[in-house]
């Protein structure tokens, strides 16, 4: 067998962190320490972490800013719920039904990711950001306005309510959304899917495809010059990312009986929330996305005692973290006086480094 590289070890540690977290939560639950409220947070924590991992593939690895990932979650949620609600009372085995629902939600999100990617990925930077935001809002708005049902005359779809003829069922009831999705999502399944999402994204990053995607991020023109097909790899990254976000959406919709396409769940602010997780976890750092999601999702919940002040504190903490982590002045300060700089100096004193000739030039 191959000897384990540093990267493989890093990836394994990521899976390890998730598994340890899972075991600890299960033990706490067995010990009866977890409150009902905290238990209720575990599945959402997982689907936001999955969405963050997905978004990091686009933002961190591909280097394009997407503000529409809540839209892909929305597609995954609605398509899978539609399927599960239809089959719910048919005696179809629940386990298989949920498995198929996961596949369906993932597939439709991937399909939309692909279709939306074709026009969107031609744009650059902030234009791409605003167009993905627009697509996310369009998806949400349409799903909040659509009526979809069947009766004796067949399937009907419209943007206003309609009467059903005889036996039938309204599947998507406009702003009321989909009622009665079976709550199949469990913490265990959510963790398995999180591990799967990590597996897919981390393995892509370590592969030929991942290198091609990162080369586009670092320098599109040079990537083209060494024969990387830009569109192909942008589409690959975007579609896979949308698919994984869709899976997160399936977990979401099967964690609640009432699914509505409202701003609280699928608006651009949700995309932004996930982006905050990605950036604070480290752009391009997959493991960081998971850890940041856990901390930032749990943190406001922990501060519940502070009631109205908690989101205020959250906002201030967010701003301060950004300033400390990213402000050039703060970085220079850390490089001069920080702990790692101190350690590096000590090391340097022991082993003098000869090569100081670094520095960028250009013409």
């Amino acid at each position: 067998m191959m000897k384990m590289t540093k990267q493989t070890r890093r990836d394994l540690i990521t899976y390890g962190i998730v598994i340890v977290f899972y075991i600890v939560m299960q033990l706490l639950d067995l010990a009866g320490i977890l409150s009902f409220h905290v238990k209720g947070l575990l599945v959402p924590l997982c689907y936001y972490a999955i969405a963050a991992v997905a978004l990091n593939l686009v933002v961190g690895i591909l280097g394009d800013l997407s503000l529409g990932h809540a839209g892909f979650m929305c597609i995954g949620a609605f398509s899978s719920s539609l399927f599960s609600v239809t089959l719910k009372d048919s005696g179809f085995p629940a386990g298989l039904r949920f498995f198929l629902a996961l596949l369906i939600g993932t597939f439709f999100a991937a399909l939309f990711g692909f279709l939306i990617g074709i026009p969107v990925l031609r744009l650059n930077g902030d234009y791409l950001a605003i167009v993905t935001l627009a697509f996310g809002e369009i998806i949400k708005n349409i799903l909040a306005a659509v009526y979809f049902g069947y009766d004796e005359e067949g399937l009907h779809i419209a943007f206003k309510s309609f009467p059903l003829q005889g036996e039938g069922k309204m599947l998507i009831n406009g702003a009321m959304g989909i009622q009665g999705t079976p709550t199949d999502s469990t913490f265990t399944i959510a963790v398995v899917i999180l591990l799967l999402a990590l597996f897919i994204v981390q393995n892509i990053v370590r592969s030929r495809t991942g290198r091609a995607i990162m080369s586009i991020r670092d320098n599109r023109i040079a990537a083209e010059a060494v024969g990387i097909q830009i569109t192909k790899y942008k589409m690959t990254a975007f579609t896979i990312s949308a698919a994984i976000a869709g899976t997160a959406g399936v977990l979401f919709s099967h964690n609640t009986t009432t699914l509505t396409a409202t701003s609280t769940y699928f608006g651009y602010n949700v995309s932004i929330l996930i982006l905050v997780y990605v950036v604070l976890g480290g752009i391009g750092n997959i493991r960081g996305s998971v850890i940041a999601t856990a901390i930032l999702y749990i943190l406001p919940e922990m501060l519940r005692g502070l009631s109205n002040y908690r989101m205020l504190i959250y906002a201030i903490v967010l701003i301060i973290i950004m300033l400390i982590n990213w402000a050039p002045a703060a970085i220079t300060f850390r490089e001069k006086y920080g702990i790692s700089a101190y350690l590096a100096r000590r090391k340097e004193n022991r082993t003098p480094v000869s090569d100081m000739g670094s520095g960028k030039g250009g013409s």
Binding site: M2, S215, I221, A222, V226, G227, G357
Partner: protein, 253 residues
């Protein structure tokens, strides 16, 4: 024998300005050819035309027998032209090794799915890529720094890495855009040896843009001088550099 690269009547205009006007050149296989001229003469534009970054208004480009005019950058790279850039364009947040492995991308294929599932073909191909990449890095004495992020390399080594990455695509023709820019005389001397070595070791044909006359005179066998977008003079290096018009173009009136 047909030349490796033949360019006929190549022209391009940018909004009225004729940046390259009726450019012709024939480069034999294995040649070390220089493209020189004052700033703004259109040298880099010629490179951009050869590599498909710009589409020419007129003229044709042949690589061997193949007409590559109007092909995309990616297709031209696959046809066998690789280049470096005047302002270094590395994949700066990727390791030195990965930079070269991106260059190897099209020569060592396996599917995205094989990569995700880490199928045996993934391990086998990655191993081959690592070996090939390290072999290339060794030529440029970069194999000791294969895990370093390319942005953390010193300037001279960044230039070398860019050449290594270009060679990784297995080109027939290598275009170097001011390889010695920003280098001190020592580094330039070393670079001259490297370029000669690349030509001999890889049996490469090299076309380079350079301002450093010592380098040009030292390694180029033939030259084309561009001035205001058109060819001022063409021929053996020693003769071209004696040409009074060339001297005038460089020193000004």
């Amino acid at each position: 024998m047909a030349a490796l690269l033949s360019v006929n009547h190549l022209s391009i205009s940018f909004g009225g300005l004729r940046a390259v006007d009726d450019f012709n050149v024939e480069i034999e296989k294995g040649a070390l050819y220089g493209l020189i001229g004052p700033n703004g003469a259109g040298k880099t534009t010629v490179f951009n035309l050869l590599t498909g970054v710009y589409k020419p208004d007129e003229g044709r480009i042949f690589l061997g027998d193949r007409n590559i005019t109007g092909l995309s950058t990616v297709e031209i790279n696959q046809a066998g032209i690789a280049r470096t850039f005047q302002n270094i364009r590395l994949f700066k947040d990727m390791s030195v090794l990965d930079n070269v492995k991106v260059g190897l991308h099209n020569r060592y294929p396996y599917s995205t799915l094989a990569g995700i599932l880490k199928l045996p073909v993934y391990f086998k191909t990655e191993k081959e890529m690592d070996e090939k990449a390290l072999e290339l890095l060794k030529v440029f004495e970069l194999d000791g720094e294969s895990e370093t992020l390319s942005k953390n390399l010193p300037y001279g080594k960044q230039r070398k890495l860019e050449i290594a990455r270009a060679l990784a695509t297995d080109p027939k023709l290598l275009l170097l855009d001011e390889p010695a820019a920003g280098m001190n005389p020592n580094e330039t001397g070393e670079l001259m040896d490297t370029i000669r070595f690349v030509r001999d070791h890889f049996d490469m044909t090299i076309l380079l843009i350079e301002h450093d006359m010592k380098l040009v005179a030292g390694i180029c066998e033939a030259l084309t001088v561009l001035n205001f977008g058109s060819v001022l003079c063409q021929g053996q290096t020693s003769e071209v550099l004696k040409n009074p018009e060339v001297i005038k173009a460089y020193l000004g009136d």
